[in-house]
Amino acid sequence: MTTKLFGTKVERSEDERFLRGRGRYVDDIGVGALHAAVLRSPHAHARILAIDVDAVLDVEGVHAVWTYDDLTGAMAEPLPLLIPHPALTHGRTQYALAKDEVNYVGEAIAFVVAEDRYIAEDALSAIRVDYEQLTPVVGIDNARAATHLVHDDVPGNIGARMEQENGDARAAIAAAPHTLTLDLTVERSACMPMEGRGTVARWDPDSSRLQVWTSTQTSTGVRAAVAAKLGLDLGQVDVITPDVGGGFGVKINHPWPEELLVPLAARALGRPVKFTEDRREHFISSAHERGQVQHIEVGFDDEGRLLGLDVMFWHDHGAYSPYGLIVPIITSTQLLGPYKPANYRVVFESLYTNTVMVTPYRGAGRPQGCYAMERTMDAIAAYLGKDRTEVRSANFIQPDEFPYAHGLVFQDGRPLTYDSGDYPASLEKIKALVGWDEFETFRAEMKAEGRTVGIGLACYVEGTGVGPYEGAHVHIETSGKVKVATGLTTQGQGHQTAFAQIVADELGVRFEDVEVVTGDTRRMPYAVGTFASRAAVMSGSAIHLAARKTKEKALRIAADALEASVEDLEIVDGVVSVRGTDASIDLGTVAVLSNPLRYAFDEASKAATQFSVGDPGKPPVAEGDEPGLEGKEFYSPERSTFASGMHAVIVETDPLTAEIKILKYAVVHDCGHLINPMIVEGQIHGGVAQGVGGALYERMAYDESGQLLNASFMDFLMPYATEVPDTIEIDHLETPSPLNPLGIKGAGEAGVIPSAAVFAAAIEDAEGFPITAMPISPSELYALRQQHPKEQS
């Protein structure tokens, strides 16, 4: 009997090629291609007066150079505003190559194609640009002050102002027995995948078709954009996402200028063209996230119950807004976490600055929202002198209250309605896992040794698996091998393995016989993309449904061949048999029989020719049926599913150097049923590491002129193995989602969401004064100690 693979730690089938150096990333593709390089603005805000490219073509090995003036038609229009929203009254996007002005250091100005990247970069230095420098707007404070504007036609630098309210928060606060006000900040960070962006394009003049390989989180999105911008029919464009060296959100934005310019150049030059982003380019011309300033007013009762919560925040949008308001909308809604304030109002302003644009980074606004809410919970507990877990308990949505409607609209335009969860059970688990109730004893022991420790806790709810849909195609070949395609992309999540587990279980075939392809528009042209922890939920469900459909067809054909009824059949290891008999037929033969042939091409196919199968009195392919043993299905849920979890950390702060050391890190995680616990735990590990980076190390150091001072791995401090917890204690709770057939919820972003909140809480607990700005470095903690001399023991 085939063992059920769903829920087990299956080793990853993709590892074999990665470990042998046989992965295929974009830069591994296109041998012999010409290489592109991009001239980028050295100024954060300037008018372009003139561009002189005459000297470029004198550089030996240069094939072409483009500036804005060379672009025509749709290519000369601004890049798409991907997610329009009524509140985004002043959406602005850049041009593929800057027209008249530049708005951040790194904005693309000219595009050179040469024999190799070295020559292309030589050529960039031969381009002369005359600028008139304008005053840059850097940072949220300057954007709000609006003494200078990023875009002349955007008053106050305000791209959007949005408000949502459930109840009357201000009245509730005015009437509340206790009130508090908090002012918080979170700085910028970025995804920083180890592989930057990259695109290869090949134009085939014989068939008038364009093939594009790109390191993206959405093949279909890039395909639609390339076709529209280059004036091609969709059917002329294939976009293939090969192996991707990490995404974490930044590669969902599209099309990047290079994703259009590379295909344009390939078509114009009749040669394959490649662009591979280098690390400095990734820092200054991809996207960042996280930067917010928050003002919170809260009214509560003696138990700490939230009577009214009124949040205003300012979101740093960078120079442009191609991804709309997704990040601040998520902050404003997911801020609520597992709690149910009686009245809630949230207002945000999304502000332009002369810095790299902001699009989702793993968590996508949730870390900031979690930070706002959890800092508030801690402040209430401190004010009332209550245990921090008690205040949280008093505000939890209870297990019998699901589905729970918050009365707000979520990022997908659907009601913010939680499907399922059990927050009290999670709290009990995290308390046990981290040793919450024993901590005061531990603190006393440490204090006796002259050591300072603190404990923090943070809870989150994450809307995962947002729509609109994903699809899957399952095809059983005559060899018995199963070919599966889904359109969303993969950047390290082990989809090849997890999706094959689902198919193997549903079809009754061997795991080794299932091959999964993602992100190839030739195989599945209808898809959305990989973001918002949606791949397992969306494609996992679609694949499950497509496998089921394929199985139904296989059983129908096999029943006919075996002269048995479908109910008596079972499929084990790719063989259909009549239970309790020797009668059987393998799926490969069923596939042969599913396709009535005129021509035999091998021994097996002789069984399916028109003289050997079928009832002469009926059409060879029945009405409503199709030849072939395959099935296609789409999954489109009514709304998102909501995963949840809690993190706790124990830190030690050095009394002298203010260094922050992690002593224990614990995670309780509820993403419904787990397809592969090994992969889920890997996602948590990686998320926690990024969270540690975001809480303690990573920030974008812009100076007042808009130069990013730390645009290298030398200066932007990403955690190495020495900065992360040695072990992460993980406990799972499995509250299945009622919204999909597998009962799953997304897991990709969870690890990073509570980090800023949980570290701020633990450091505050250790030090005895409020932590209101994250990330926090030892020198900042040291400075805070100087401001709070009394609290120090």
Binding site: E14, D27, H685
Partner: protein, 159 residues
């Protein structure tokens, strides 16, 4: 301007590659583009991330910080050369598979070469030594816990 081209003989994974390169061509680019061994990845081009690490005469080197012309007369080992003679996964590769030591796989070749050299030098690393062994390589996916486990497992498999 015409660049001077140098004829260089590189020895990679026991094979010989005669390449013609300008003096400024990085070893990482020569390995990837001239030798066609794309398993070695470039993550930062300034020697910080370690993704491009190869073994030069058995010692881990950042191939983005070395010129191809300076690799003459050395024996270079890349990720493609870490398998067992029978073609099965080598001990470090096998350990990564068992311990789920990789996700997107982009940084992995640099870890595999680094650990191969590390275990050759210290066949039985402690947990702290295992962490130290990989502390110069960046990974953005795994959080490192499983990579450290893989170092310990690789040491077991190698003994």
């Amino acid at each position: 301007m015409t660049e001077e081209i140098h004829d260089v003989r590189l020895h990679v994974n026991g094979a010989t590659y005669d390449v013609a390169v300008p003096a400024r061509r990085l070893l990482s680019d020569a390995i990837r583009q001239d030798c066609g061994l794309t398993g070695t990845h470039v993550g930062c081009e300034h020697g910080v991330c370690g993704a491009c690490t190869v073994l030069v005469d058995g010692r881990p080197m950042r191939s983005c910080l070395m010129f191809a012309v300076s690799a003459v007369d050395t024996e270079i080992t890349t990720v493609e050369g870490l398998t067992n003679p029978d073609g099965s996964l080598g001990p470090v590769q096998q350990a990564f598979k068992e311990c789920h030591g990789l996700q997107c796989g982009f940084c992995t070749p640099g870890f595999l070469t680094t650990i191969t050299a590390g275990i050759a030098e210290n066949p039985s690393p402690t947990r702290d030594e295992a962490r130290e062994m990989i502390s110069g390589n960046l990974c953005r996916c795994t959080g490192y816990q499983n990579i450290i486990k893989a170092v310990e497992r690789a040491a077991e498999l190698s003994s």
